[in-house]
């Protein structure tokens, strides 16, 4: 096995070196007892010969013996696999570097090569017989480069949407819908096969009781249309089965049936959000109903008083509403 590996390492050496010394190196390997040391030595030799030594065959000393220059032709030489691999590596690295440069728009500066207007910003001056100062009789009109829309705040905050919208164009395309199961699984950070409200983007306040936290999670999963569509059994968790069925579930939100989901189709109804928050605030026993036992009278009075003030021409700020609703 080690001999085969040694022979393979020798075969990877440049052809000229291998042809000259390969047999001798193998002879030493056969004789030596320190096979592993020689394997390491061969690997180092391979690196040295491939990376550090010139592969150009030496010129024959008889070539210029009669004083007449003799040119060496490399045409019969076939590039080695190692040389081709190195070439491919260099080409890929160059392409990657160029791509990075383009994507960072380093080359966006306006470079004009040749212009009859003398200016230090022009790289090459050009001489023209045209009348000085006259514009060329050509007009080029270009449409403005379409600016990329910023990622919607809702798409950014709602983790489910941010992983679904892979190209960040604020639209869940048909292809992105198709890829929804795989995209959703990336959110399963604890790998338990379920997506919790927190994994979907909920940030829970730390001072909530377990009961309040549970109700908040359920409310979060219910008020956001995307989560409500995914959580088919309304248990507050998106299971593996529900993730597998995600594409079909999400298509139920496609109101105009165009095969994709726009922001308008996935945004939650503000009234639902408000009502849900009010329930979380006022339904103290969490039975889904506001009853006399919840003693909301003072809150309702303060809240209605604030709204009445606005109705009569006064102003109500968010702080006023917070004060009105605080227990």
């Amino acid at each position: 096995m080690t001999r085969r590996l040694y022979i393979w390492l020798l075969k990877m050496h440049p052809q000229a070196f291998r042809a000259r010394f390969g047999d001798e190196m193998l002879s030493i390997f056969d004789e030596s007892l320190e096979k592993r040391v020689l394997l390491t030595d061969a690997a180092l030799s391979l690196f040295r010969q491939s990376a550090l030594r010139s592969q150009q065959p030496p010129f024959s000393r008889t070539a210029t013996a009669d004083g007449v220059p003799l040119f060496y032709s490399a045409e019969p030489e076939v590039p080695t696999a190692a040389a081709l691999a190195r070439g491919a590596l260099v080409a890929l690295a160059s392409f990657a570097l160029f791509s990075v440069a383009m994507s960072h728009r380093w080359a966006q500066g306006t470079w004009i090569i040749g212009s009859h207007h003398p200016s230090p910003s022009h790289i090459l001056g050009a001489h023209t017989d045209a009348k000085a100062g006259a514009d060329l009789p050509a007009e080029v009109k270009m449409q403005p480069y379409p600016a990329r829309a910023p990622v919607s705040a809702y798409f950014r905050l709602m983790r489910v949407l941010s992983v679904l919208d892979t190209d960040q164009d604020n639209v869940i395309s048909a292809a992105e819908l198709q890829n929804a199961p795989a995209a959703l699984r990336t959110l399963d950070r604890n790998h338990d096969g379920f997506l919790s409200a927190e994994e979907c983007g909920l940030k829970l306040a730390s001072d909530l009781s377990p009961d309040q936290a549970g109700r908040t999670r359920l409310a979060f999963m219910r008020v956001h249309p995307v989560l409500a569509a995914l959580d088919a059994n309304r248990d507050g968790l998106i299971s593996e089965d529900e993730m597998r069925n995600a594409a079909r579930a999400l298509r139920s939100l496609d109101a105009n049936r165009d095969g994709k989901l726009t922001e308008r189709e996935v945004l939650p109804d503000p009234a639902v959000i408000l009502a849900s928050n009010m329930m979380l605030l006022l339904d103290r026993n969490g039975d889904g109903r506001i009853e006399r036992e919840e003693r909301i009278g003072p809150i309702a009075e303060r809240f209605l008083a604030a709204l009445n003030r606005a109705e009569k021409g006064g102003t109500v700020t968010e702080d006023d509403l917070v004060l009105a609703l605080r227990q």
Binding site: F17, F21, E24, L26, L38, A42, L44, Q49, P58
Partner: protein
């Protein structure tokens, strides 16, 4: 000859090994180990990389020495050229100068 100096440890040991007699690659490796009392071991990769360069510089050449019967026919023998011997002599002289200077400095400091 000075353009070859100073010699790397591997080159010095190879030239020293070949100064006594023509040797094949494995023989050079063994001779280098013997000369350095086991402190310096050459691998075949390092050996033939140096031999390739030394042959291109005409300091070492392949010998016409034939492997004795029963010896591995893949072995080739190498010998020091006259130029190689001169380079080795120059390096030894240089090292002698270094040793002399080192002794002088050590004597002064003690």
């Amino acid at each position: 000859m000075n353009e070859f100096l100073p010699l790397s440890p591997a080159t010095l040991h190879i030239l020293l090994a070949l100064a006594g007699e023509d040797l094949h690659g494995y023989g050079i490796m063994q001779e280098v180990t013997r000369q350095s009392e086991g402190a310096y071991k050459l691998g075949p990769g390092t050996l033939y990389d140096n031999l390739q360069r030394l042959m291109a510089q005409d300091l070492v050449q392949e010998s016409s020495h034939k492997a004795p019967p029963g010896d591995d026919p893949r072995r080739r023998y190498y010998r020091l050229t006259a130029a190689g011997r001169k380079v080795l002599s120059s390096e030894i002289s240089r090292l002698e100068g270094v040793v002399r200077l080192a002794r002088l400095h050590l004597r002064r400091s003690s």
